[in-house]
Symmetry: C2
Subunit: 223 residues, 2 copies
DNA sequence: ATTAAAATTTAGACAAATCTAAAAATTTGT
DNA sequence: ACAAATTTTTAGATTTGTCTAAATTTTAAT
């Protein structure tokens, strides 16, 4: 079996970025898009694309961009799995807030030990979702996106359960904390303002007025 | 305050090695000794010595070797603290055996997050010793070596409590596991064989015959 | 269908961390 | 004290991952 041989930390980060940009589907991802995502220069992306292609992790055609191979997808999912499991660990076991976890998980995701991450998985009782509501791939790389929609798309008077966030910036997560909006909360759309698409919602026992910018960054699952 | 600015992973490993070789005392540590400890070449050590000296982490005199500065000691202790706390975590929370922890802890010790390690410390209830019996430095870099001696030096008929190991090789740790010798066990010297310095010991309810090589790698604390 | 704009790649350079081989300094043995 | 052995350093090369600037290819507009 192809014991994943040597994948460097930098290569792992590229694979993750490509995956997040949709590189696991048929479509190719543009050099510029990857450079943007990774906060680096397009020329660096080109160099790395060649390296990853040589290792059989991506398909790369000059001037066309890259897409992940089967092997690349597996590797990317393993990293995402680790990242999300560590996030759960930090929140559940060490009382980190959900805006604090990302930076540390970015480091922890590169720790190489199959036993370690499987034990963490077990310690957490095999969670299916991370603190932002994103699904955690299994050991075999299976994972299903939750059936969810943006709060902004929820019809008037219908109810949903908050299951995730689209924007994971510190600012947004802090806003949610401050307004006591958490995953699992039940949300009902009471009124919608046509003028600016802001809305009145019922959340737990409270009522809240939220802007469209909030509503387009909160995922809910219809009840 | 000198927020430890940038210390690379490689630099951290050198500091740790120098500390282990006694570089925190007045004595200087030879280039060759460090190369041996780090499994690298003396010329690489020279290069790094200059770099560390420039950052004020070691004192370095050409052809004389290096010794840690105050700042270098602090940095080394912070890494050792992290390494040992992670070892405790792996054993206590994830059921790793004590011969499995080192390799993973070597990676985890480089994770940069003060909050993370302090929370791990708290989760473990502020342990004083790691799974091999070595003391864990406090957040302020204080740490005291335990009052201990080698089992081989324990007088005939006297008793001690097993508090640590000198050799931390997988082979030795596995041997101890197989013979059910664990930290905390009470050991009494029943008989000593002058010919080869092997000894009969009473450990818990059992009696055991152990070679001098074992006895010179087990630390006990006199009762 | 050309040309202008945008995206991408190449070429050449740099910093970090390492190595080899040769030179220099120190230590050791007598 | 001086030659031989050992240790240490220097000089120059290599690898990884990055960058800038220039060249090339693709895309978009008229």
């Amino acid at each position: 079996m192809g014991k994943s041989f040597l994948v460097t930390r930098s290569e792992e980060n590229y694979l993750k970025a490509i995956f997040h940009l949709g590189g696991s589907e048929a479509s190719s991802i543009a050099t510029n898009a990857i450079a943007e995502e990774m906060q680096t220069k397009p020329s660096s992306v080109t160099d790395m694309a060649k390296k990853l292609a040589e290792k059989g992790l991506v398909d790369y055609v000059r001037y066309q961009g890259v897409s992940l191979t089967e092997k690349g997808i597996k590797t990317a999912l393993a990293i995402i799995r680790k990242h999300r499991l560590w996030e759960v660990f930090l929140v559940k076991k060490l009382d980190f807030t959900w805006d604090e976890v990302h930076e540390v998980a970015e480091q922890l995701e590169h720790i190489k030990s199959e036993k370690l991450i499987d034990k963490i998985d077990e310690l957490l009782d095999f969670p299916k979702y991370d603190p932002h509501g994103d699904p955690i791939p299994t050991k075999n790389g299976e994972f299903q996106e939750r059936d969810k929609q943006l709060l902004s798309e929820l019809p008037l008077h219908s109810k949903g359960i908050c299951v995730g966030v689209k924007d994971t910036s510190t600012a947004f997560l802090r806003f949610l904390d401050k307004n006591e909006i958490a995953l699992g909360d039940s949300i009902k759309v009471l009124e919608r303002e046509d003028f600016d698409d802001s809305m009145h919602i019922q959340i737990a026992e409270r009522q809240l007025h939220i802007s469209n910018q909030i509503a387009t960054n909160l995922y809910v699952k219809k009840e």
